[in-house]
Every structure is written in C-alpha cells, then in structure tokens.
C-alpha cells in the first residue's frame, strides 16, 4: 500500500481526533486546537481536513447525538482507524528520531 503523506494541519487534526477519543467532532476539535495549540482555525478548514483524512482512510466517522443547540441535527464523530494510528506513529517516530539527533547544546543559553 502506498504510504499517505500528511500535512501539518492534517497531522494536528489527526492527533486531536485521537486525543478526544469519543468526543471528536468538528466543533470539539476546533476548541481543542484552540486550547492546546493556541491555533485559531476556521471550522470550514477543519471540515475540509477531516474529509481529506477520511478519504485517505486515516479516520472513520459515524453520525450520532442530536442536540437542541444544533437545530436537532446529529454530529459526525470521527475516530482513528488502524491506518491513521500507524501514520501518526510513523510520523512521531520520524520526529523523535530526528529530535534525538539534535545537539543538546543548541538549547542551552550561553
């Protein structure tokens, strides 16, 4: 299988989906991104990213939980798929590996 490469925002969203467990729907992801990464992202951008991720098979989705404040509409909850999990792990591994190679000195103030 061809390995999917993912962008920075995609990776962040994918991570958030994983982190939110059962609560991952677009608005929650938006809030979480704001809280954790201090990133103000347009909700339409989140939707767009989620659609891309779903198409690549990195997340799956399910409709449930209608509430009053949504005009009786259900939410689409996302969850990591096996492939998504793997992509995340690989990318984290790459980062960690590269990070380990950084000379520690660079960070200490002289």
């Amino acid at each position: 299988m061809k390995r999917e490469s993912i962008g920075e925002l995609e990776e962040l969203v994918l991570l958030t989906v994983g982190a939110l467990l059962d609560e991952a729907y677009a608005v929650a992801i938006l809030d979480e991104l704001h809280k954790q990464a201090n990133r103000l992202v347009d909700v339409t951008a989140i939707h767009s990213v989620l659609r891309r991720l779903e198409k690549k098979g990195l997340v799956g989705s399910e409709m449930k939980g209608a509430t009053q404040e949504r005009g009786g509409r259900r939410k689409r909850y996302f969850m990591l798929t096996q492939a998504g999990r793997q992509v995340l792990e690989e990318s984290m591994a790459v980062r960690m590996e590269l990070y380990q190679k950084l000379p520690k000195l660079t960070f200490s103030p002289s």
């Binding site: 729907y25 608005v27 909700v43 939707h47 659609r51 404040e69 509409r73």
Partner: protein, 895 residues
C-alpha cells in the same frame, strides 16, 4: 428588551445556499456545526455578528469536496470550460476559411442587431430616466358633445393645475408645461425668436432634470426668473457665468428683462420634454390673458401630475367625472367633459392619445425594426448552422473516433457547442465594438438620433447575448453530429445524408427573409418617391417662405395678423426689385407645415361642420399656379375682394352641399359679410397621408372667425411672405434676404425655409424607416451571400474529384457552373415564391397609412428576385470559375 439568546435563526438565504450546493452526505453535520457556532456567537457577542459569521462560514464551506455530486455546477460548469474551449480553438484555427466566414457573417449580423436594438431600446425607454417615472401622469381632455363634435387634446386648460390640486388629494404635485416662442435678445439687438418653456415653479420636484449651477433648490422663485440650459448659456454668454445676468424677452409690446437664476444640464435626447429656456407660469395672466386662466375650453399647457406613493391613479379616474360635474353640472351632461391620465412613459409610443407638445414616434415602426433586427440576427445564426451541418461530413470521422474511444454524447455536444459559443463571443466582441463605432455613420445614414453611453453592465449583456447566439446557432449541428450512429459514420464518408433537408429548409428560409427585405425596401422606396413626385396641384419648387412677425405680440388675433401683414408688405417692396425674385405673395400657412387653422360651426341644418382656412393676398393663386374651375380669382386692388370675397376648393363645395356656389355664402348664420366668388381645383395642402379636406381661402379672416364656435390651430396664423427664387445659386437667397431684412427690420433675426424641404419632411418618418430597412437589407444580402459562399465552397470541395473527371471528359466551365448552380436554384426559387405573399401582406398594412398610395406591382418582385439571383449567381459563379480553372491533374492525383 433582551432576547432569548437561543432564539432567532441564521440568515435564510445562507442556509438555502448551503442546502443547494452541499453534498447531502456532509450536509447534516456541517449544518449542525455551523448552527452550534452560530448560537455560541449569539450568546457571547451579538446576533448581527453571528449572522455575519454564519454567512461567511457558509461561503467559506463552498469547496470542491463539499459540492453535490450531481449539482449542475459540478457538471456543466466544469465540462464546459478549459479543455473544451482549448480543443474548440484548435479546431477553429485549423479551418480558417470557415471560421472567418462564420465570424464575419455573425459579426455583421450582430452589428445590425445591436444598432437596431439600441435604437429600439432608446425608443422604448423614452422618458424612463425620471426616478419617479412610474408615478408621473399626463392629463388629457376628451370633450364629446355628440354628432361628431369631439375634441380630444393632451393640451389642457390652464385651470387644471389648481383643479387637480384642490380636488385630488392623491396627487403629491401638479405641474404644467407649455412652450411658446418669444423674441429673445441679450442687448435688444439681434433678436431671435426662441421657444421658451413656461413651467410651474415646482416642476423640478416632479421631473429629474439636473440643475447644475445657481439656485438649484428654488430656481423660479421670482416672477421674472429664467432657467437656461448649458448649451444656451454658452450661446448667449460664452465663458461668462450666466447667473445673475439678464436676457430680454418680448412678452408683449415691451421687452422685459429676465434674471437667470439657474443653469440646467442639457436635457437627454430621450426626453419628451425639451427646453433650453424656462420661465415661471405665474406669468400666465400676462401671457395668455385673463380669460384663459378660468376657461374650461381653451387648451394650452400640458398638465403633469405626480401621484403619491401610497395612492393610485384609479381612484382619481373613478371620481374625476364627479369633480367635473360639481363645476360644470349646470352647463353640461355627464360624460361630455372627460379628464383622463396617461403614464409619462406611455407618451412617446402611444398613438391613441393625441400629440401634445412633445413629438412622438410611431410604435409600429419601432416594433417592425425590432423584428427586422431579430430576423437579420436569425439569418446570421442560420448561416452558422448550415455551414456547420455542411462541415459535419468532414468531421464525421472525428466524431466517430471520439465515440469509439468512449466519449459520452453529452460531452461531445459540449465540445461542439463550445465551438459555436467561442465563435459567437468573438463575433459579439467584434460586432459590438464595430456597432458602437458605426453609430455616427448610422445616424447620418438614417437620420435618427441615437446616443450611446457605455456602462459596465452592458458587457454582461453582450456576453450573455454572445452565449445565447452561440447556443442558438450551435445546438442543431451539435445534436446532429453527436446523434449519428458510430457504425454509419465509420463505414461511409457520406455521413448524414438524410439530415440535409433541414439545411435546405434553412437556406430557403434565409432566401425568404432576404428577398422579403429587398422587396419591402423597394416598395417603400417606390411609395416615397410617388409621394414626393405626385402632382400636388400647385408649383412649389424653389419657393421660399419667410415667417413675418407682428409688432405687437399680444392683442387680438386679427390685429396681430394685420400688423404682420403690414411688415410683410414692407419686405415685399424691398425684395421685389430683384430680378431673381418672382411670384411674391403671402399666406397664413405654408405647404409642408401641418396644423393649418381649422374652424368649426353648426350649419343651418344643425350639422357640425369643420373646415380649414387659409388667409392670403390677391396674388396667391397665380403665384402658385393654381387652377380656378368656376368663378374667378381675387382681383388685385379690389377693396371688395379684400373685405368679403372667399374662394372654396372643390371638396368644400361638396362638403357644404352647395350647388352653383358662385355668389352664395357659407351655410352658417353668424358669419360676417362674405361671398363665394370662385372654386379652386383641389390641391393637396396637407400631407398625402390625408385626404383633401374642405378649404376656405380668404383675404379677410374677420367674417370667418365671427361665424364659428371652435378654432383649432397648431400652426401660427401670422402671415408668411412667400416668393419664388429663379436664380441658379441658392446661396444668393440668403444674400438678397439678409440685405432686405436688415435694412427693413434691423433689430430682428431673419428666419426662412424652402417649401420643398418642408414638403419632403412630411414623409421624414417613412423615409427614415425606408433607410433603416435598406441598411438591414444590404446587411442581410451580405450575410446570405457569405452563407452561400461557404456552402458552395463545401459543395465544390466534396465534389472535387467529380469536377476533375468531368473536366477530363471535356465539360466546359459553364457546365460546371450549371452543376453547382443547380444545387441551390430550387431553394432560391422557393424562397422567392414564399416571400411574395408575405411581402404583399406586410406592405399592404404599411400602405394603409397613406390616403394616396401605389399599387404593389409585379415589377418590384421581379427586381428583388433579380437582385437575389444576381448575388447568388455571382457567388456561385466565382466558385465554379475557380473550380473549373483547377488543373484536373491536381484534384485527381491527391488521394
């Protein structure tokens, strides 16, 4: 009051837009999220902010991945773009000859369409520039006293302004507009008679005429205030600032200085109300006399009413008769005196309401021109269609190959449509620009006043029009090309032979329209020439008319006529000496000027009679070489004739039922002393649209005026001096007249006109229509020729080998020409045959407008068929000649 935060809805349009484009699979969640954010913003910020945010997010969500799969956007839009146009451009580039023919043909058609379209638009949107146009009405007055005593006017009594304001609360404003000629000068020198509008001071609250300078809010506050147009400000004051300056207007015996308070921007061409100088109608008493202010029967100004926004004209119409009866109930019966209203925008093209001050157009001509514009465009589209169908043989293989490779029918159609749309849009660009540049030529050629101001939205219209034309012209070939079966195409090169009848029908239709236009133009030309050459019963060539003036502008009509007559005598003695001047006479009206005085009375049998009257001097009949059929002419120097003798025309004798009229009087009781001394042979004193009407010729108007109850005159009765100029140089007229005039009336400006010009001008409208149709005819011939050229080339190409073989066997060039000509001859024949009944029918309608008309002869059709035939044969002949010249070796060697 604080609103419940979760109440309220996001903007509905945004929701609807989202639902329209969004993939249903994604819609619920997306919409839910947007709602959630919407209510969150409502609670945190404000509703306005939330609405704004919601709309923004909906627009931002408009992404490729979110659009519905079967949404029209996702199909047509994309299919139609890029790729197809690229391929189309390549195909068109490859076949340059056809592309050029198509583009040129369409462009010419579009030029014609755009020019006629602009003209028609201008006519139809006449007076539409007023922002309150839908609420402005013009009053009319219809008096009907039975027995044919009907007076219908859109000029109204002066008292209507007050009458309406007092009785119709539905009106926000009522204003009057009147035009009269006054002698105008700046320093009491070089006096020119200028038309001056007399308007209500509130006039500018109703109409959107721009006051650009001076007192723009209350321009006519003072009694002797004057508004001047920009053009006239330049004419009288050059670069000086006209505000506060004065112009002298001679209202009565004395000249009065008027102070200019405001400058008016020049009034647009498409306005019924036009003036360059305007004064206030508070002067009505001085200008029109005490009596006219309260009269019910004397009409003068036009009355315009602005209806309040919440009111309607119907409620005014419903009670107008009651209001009339409350004033006139004792003197009149119900429904004898009727007041009605017509919308401002209706004035220019409504032939049912009589003409007021503003000139009007004939609506039929406007519609005819609109239809012709469309027809010419249709011919151009048909050209494209027939040529493309012809091409289909060539392209059948391409289509077959595409189909074999799996192209869907829909996408193939899009391919062909994008070709035609490309051609149409390019042609639209060329044609549109060309049309705009040709406007001055068009105006000069046809005598219309077309003004075009570019606005950006026109580009959109042009583009849309190009798209429409492209689709119209391309849809049929696209359908044919794509619906043929693959196997038939691939098996034989002949392609779709069965479809050729459509092409033939189209070519025939083209011929029908072309021949129709040619014959119509010819017939109209014949009628107009007939009108201009018809013996009118008098000699009027080289006659010059000089309007005189009376030294007193006010006073009784008879006194003013007498004063002007004395002036005419003065001028007469000073020009008579010239050897090139002969037949000097004077008359109250001249030929070619409508609106001669019409007098009405009830005769001794109780019948209501109307006749025209002409006041002349004793030399009149001999000057114009008119024939006396009974009795005698006026005797020069006879005081009796000057006082009481009258002449009748033959029609008048019949009309009054007189036998042996000589020595008798008119059958009315109140006329002054008069006696009929002779009968003049009928002559056409009005235009040939009308029958000859009863006419009384007199030297003294008093006895006639005394006996009549109604007088109508559109043309002034102030005498005109008339003489024949026998010199060869027309410019000498100017010299002779100027010299005589300046020595006699040094303070006045000279005006004069040639009677033949005026007579010809009566048929100006018809001549203009004829010219417009002639332009359209030339264009349609051109387009049809281009189409024929394309088709012939096609036929020649497809029969190249056949022609080569025929030549080898020994066919002469003429035989080859015959071979090609035969292809189109029966279509041409059928076209001519079909166009004849159509033309006869149309032209009969048109000729109804004339009391004197030609018969539609076969000669016109022969001529037009000949023209069509010659053009067709020339086009075909040229191709045949080229094909015949080609060395057969060349055409036979290539495989």
């Amino acid at each position: 009051m604080e609103q419940n935060p979760t109440s309220g809805h996001p903007p509905r349009w945004a929701t609807r837009l989202l639902e329209w484009y969004c993939d249903p699979y994604l819609l619920e969640d997306l919409q839910g999220d947007l709602y959630e954010l919407y209510y969150r913003t409502i609670t945190k910020k404000s509703k306005a902010r939330a609405n704004w945010q919601y709309a923004w997010l909906v627009l931002r969500s408009f992404r490729w991945s979110a659009i519905k799969k079967n949404n029209p956007l996702k199909n047509n839009f994309i299919m139609f773009s890029g790729q197809h146009f690229k391929v189309a451009a390549r195909v068109l580039w490859r076949d340059k000859f056809n592309t050029i023919l198509n583009t040129v043909g369409l462009s010419i058609g579009i030029v014609c369409f755009v020019l006629l379209g602009l003209y028609v638009t201008q006519e139809v949107t006449f007076d539409h520039f007023h922002s309150k146009k839908d609420r402005i009405y013009r009053a009319w007055l219809l008096e009907d006293y039975g027995e044919g005593k009907v007076f219908f006017n859109s000029n109204t009594p002066v008292r209507f302004e007050d009458l309406f304001e007092e009785n119709f609360p539905e009106f926000e404003e009522v204003v009057q507009y009147h035009v009269r000629n006054f002698p105008v000068s700046r320093h009491e020198q070089g006096v020119i008679s200028e038309p001056v509008a007399i308007i209500s001071p509130e006039f500018f609250k109703v109409f959107d005429f721009d006051l650009i300078h001076g007192n723009v809010t209350k321009p006519l506050a003072g009694r002797y205030d004057l508004i001047i147009s920009r053009a006239y400000a330049e004419k009288y004051f050059g670069d000086e600032d006209p505000i506060g300056k004065t112009l002298q207007l001679q209202l009565n015996e004395n000249t009065t200085p008027f102070t200019i308070t405001a400058v008016l921007d020049n009034i647009p061409q498409s306005s019924s109300i036009k003036f360059d100088l305007a004064i206030s109608n508070v002067l009505n008493r001085e200008l029109l006399g005490e009596r006219s202010l309260t009269a019910w029967m004397m009409v003068g100004p036009e009355t315009y009413a602005l209806v309040k926004e919440e009111a309607s004209i119907e409620s005014v119409n419903a009670k107008s008769q009651d209001v009339v009866m409350s004033y006139l109930g004792e003197e009149m019966n119900r429904d004898e005196y009727n007041i009605g209203f017509q919308p401002l925008t209706d004035i220019h093209l409504n032939p049912d309401i009589p003409v007021g001050i503003a000139p009007v157009s004939n609506p039929v001509y406007v519609y005819v021109l609109a239809v012709i514009g469309f027809l010419v465009l249709l011919i151009a589209c048909i050209n494209y269609t027939t040529l493309s169908i012809g091409q289909s043989i060539k392209r059948a293989h391409e289509v077959g190959m595409r189909k074999v490779l799996g192209a869907a029918k829909r996408s193939l159609m899009m391919q062909y449509l994008s070709e035609s749309v490309l051609v149409a849009i390019v042609s639209m660009g060329i044609g549109g620009v060309l049309a705009v540049f040709l406007i001055p030529t068009f105006n000069r050629l046809t005598g219309v006043d077309l003004v075009y101001l570019f606005e950006w939205w026109h580009l959109g219209v042009f583009l849309a029009l190009g798209l429409a034309i492209g689709l119209l012209a391309g849809i049929y070939p696209a359908v044919i090309l794509t619906s043929t079966k693959v196997m038939t195409i691939m098996r034989s090169a002949s392609g779709s032979r069965g479809k050729h009848w459509v092409r033939k029908v189209m070519v025939t239709f083209q011929f029908v329209i072309t021949v129709l236009l040619i014959s119509s133009a010819l017939i109209m030309q014949k009628q107009i020439r007939f009108l201009q050459d018809k013996d009118l019963g008098y000699q009027y060539e080289a006659f010059v008319s000089v309007p005189m003036f009376s030294s007193a502008e006010s006073g009784r009509m008879a006194e003013r006529i007498a004063s002007a007559r004395a002036n005419a005598e003065l001028l007469k003695t000073s020009i008579e000496a010239h050897p090139q001047v002969s037949n000097v006479t004077m008359a109250s009206h001249t030929f070619g000027t409508p609106g001669w005085a019409e007098l009405s009375f009830t005769d001794d049998k109780g019948i209501f009679r109307t006749f025209s009257m002409l006041a002349v001097d004793a030399a009149y009949l001999s000057a114009f070489d008119m024939k006396i059929v009974e009795g005698r002419d006026f005797e020069k120097g006879s005081g009796l004739d000057e006082r009481q003798s009258i002449l009748l025309n033959e029609t008048a004798v019949d009309y009054f039922g007189l036998e042996n009229p000589i020595g008798k009087t008119l059958p009315g009781n109140d006329f002054g002393e008069h006696r009929i001394i002779g009968v003049v042979k009928d002559f056409h004193f009005s235009s040939l649209h009308q029958e000859i009407e009863p006419l009384v010729i007199t030297q003294n108007v008093q006895p006639m005026f005394r006996g009549v109850s109604d007088v109508g005159m559109k043309d002034s009765m102030i005498p005109k001096l008339l003489f024949k100029f026998t010199g060869s140089q027309l410019s000498e007229v100017q010299e002779i007249l100027t010299e005589a005039w300046e020595s006699t009336f040094p303070n006045r400006n000279l005006e004069y006109a040639f009677i033949d010009d005026n007579v010809a001008r009566q048929y100006e409208n018809e001549a203009r229509l004829n010219k417009l149709i002639a332009v359209a005819t030339v264009i349609s011939i051109l387009i049809a020729a281009i189409g024929l050229l394309g088709l012939t080339v096609l036929v020649v190409n497809s029969r190249e080998k056949e022609i080569g073989i025929r030549k080898v066997i020994g066919a002469s060039p003429f035989q080859i020409f015959h071979l090609l000509a035969r292809t189109f001859s029966w279509q041409l024949g059928l076209g001519v045959a079909l166009s004849i009944p159509l033309t006869v029918w149309l032209m009969r309608q048109w000729l109804q407008d004339f009391a004197y008309r030609i018969s539609i002869g076969a000669d016109m059709f022969l001529l037009s068929s000949l023209i069509a035939l010659v053009v067709a044969l020339m086009v075909i002949g040229y191709q045949a000649w080229k094909a015949a010249l080609v060395n057969p070796v060349k055409s036979l060697r290539t495989e």
